[in-house]
Symmetry: C2
Subunit: 277 residues, 2 copies
């Protein structure tokens, strides 16, 4: 059964949940959480999942600003399965409220972020988007990442957490024939609940690294990831397009666009990552 | 005379300079600076200049990591001419060192950032960039923004601080005939020194808002700006392309690419800004 938006019974919502360690009036709120091994990839916890956990702390800290608008995160160390502590400090309150949030394990920061939250339902209806949604074959004609090569599945338990269907031309890497264009396209959804703004923070880093499509398999550690969430997504599959245009000096930029089932560009994310060795 | 890189005699370098308020071993370094009115636009200080001032504080704090690699800034309040205090706290040291930096006036944060610095000279020589540099008419066939309409110059003393030449098709807004495509292209340099990585933080927010080209004049306040600096720029003019593909709900994303005279994509910046009213 697909639930509407946030659902306490959905796996993602259970896993990103946090327990407050103090009261709502502290200048720095503290929360405890647990990073489940099921969200790991290449030995570390997926960066999108971590971002969503930070977002959970921010939402708890400023409940009247429930939606991420711009979240800029720097990954300063690999996170692993186990307990985590998240802190959140309000930098500025307003229609746009900015919160500094950090996730630590064993007392060391793993991801630190500046998150601007607001109420996306209160925005104007104007849509002047000129970007064009990717034209994708229907999900049933695409390839589930959970059916990927055994070697890939072994290092990426993450892909069992959601449904991702890559287009046939985005899956060449699994057959040893990457397209070489630096583009991955496909569909994304959670099995047990509909998309919402928080879940888009997960989606924006859920695809395999675009370097797979350039014939460079392996883990591509994120240095910095900024996500803009531009609208509350409509229910249904999300269409995603991930690309790179500047691989140089051992780093690459990776752009991710997420379109909802109503054809709206609901999120844009860009990360700087290290080229796999 | 064009100086090589940072020059204490160049206007930009004099203006972003900071005075340390304490010793290098403090957990949070504090610096004082002055925001000159000459860098203002629409009543506030230009966001790129502010970013460069934060970058100056970071460079002073981690001198062995002299170059910005990824700087993510959230603009939480308008900065105005006058004194400013900048703080810098090291989050993680490494080949990539991350510093949390904040600029305040009158005790209130104006811009807060997470800055990752490194030594760009130490990167690999590999360049696999597929992005294509804009094809621009030579600077002498472009239009200097300092020759813009009087109304524009009155609200933008900023444009006297550098040489910017927009291509003829990027300047339609000045004649009441914006192209409507959401693209601005042109050349950029400082009069009295060559580009360097720190100066790219200025350049990435130096162009007029791309909304000018959509027939929406007026100030477009930056919410969030993330800049990747990918290489030490070669001397000479910088070629720039600024565009938007997602104007909706009262916000727009603005992408800025900066190419050096050797044809290298040396910086990519993306901001989320408010559509002018």
């Amino acid at each position: 059964m697909i639930q509407t938006e946030t659902s306490p019974t959905a796996e993602f919502d259970r896993d990103v949940a946090l327990t407050p360690l103090d009261g709502p009036d502290e200048p720095v709120r503290r929360f405890s959480g647990h990073l489940p091994g099921g969200w790991s990839v290449g030995g570390g916890i997926n960066g999108g999942f971590l971002l969503a956990m930070l977002g959970t702390a921010v939402r708890e800290t400023v409940p009247d600003r429930p939606h991420p608008v711009a979240v800029a995160a720097t990954y300063v160390g690999a996170s692993t399965e186990g307990p985590a502590e998240v802190t959140a400090r309000i930098v500025r309150r307003g229609t746009l409220t900015t919160v500094a949030a950090e996730l630590a394990q064993d007392g060391a920061a793993r991801i630190t972020a500046l998150a601007t939250f607001s109420d996306l339902a209160g925005l104007t209806d104007e849509v002047g988007t000129t970007a064009v949604a990717p034209v994708l074959p229907p999900p049933e004609d695409c390839v589930a990442t959970s059916d990927g090569p055994e070697e890939f599945l072994r290092i990426a338990p993450l892909v069992q957490r959601f449904e991702m269907r890559l287009t046939p031309r985005s899956i060449g890497w699994a057959l040893g024939q990457p397209s070489g264009t630096g583009v991955l396209e496909g569909w994304f959804r959670l099995r047990d609940r509909e998309p919402d703004p928080l879940m888009l923070l997960l989606a924006c880093d859920a695809m395999p690294p675009v370097t797979f499509d350039l014939g460079r398999p392996g883990w591509a550690p994120t240095v910095q990831l900024t996500t803009h969430v531009r609208a509350v997504p409509a229910p249904g599959w999300l269409a995603m397009r991930q690309s790179t245009r500047n691989l140089a000096g051992g780093f690459f930029e990776e752009d991710c666009e997420i379109w909802d089932s109503a054809g709206r560009l609901v999120a844009q994310a860009r990360q700087l990552a290290r080229v796999p060795r």
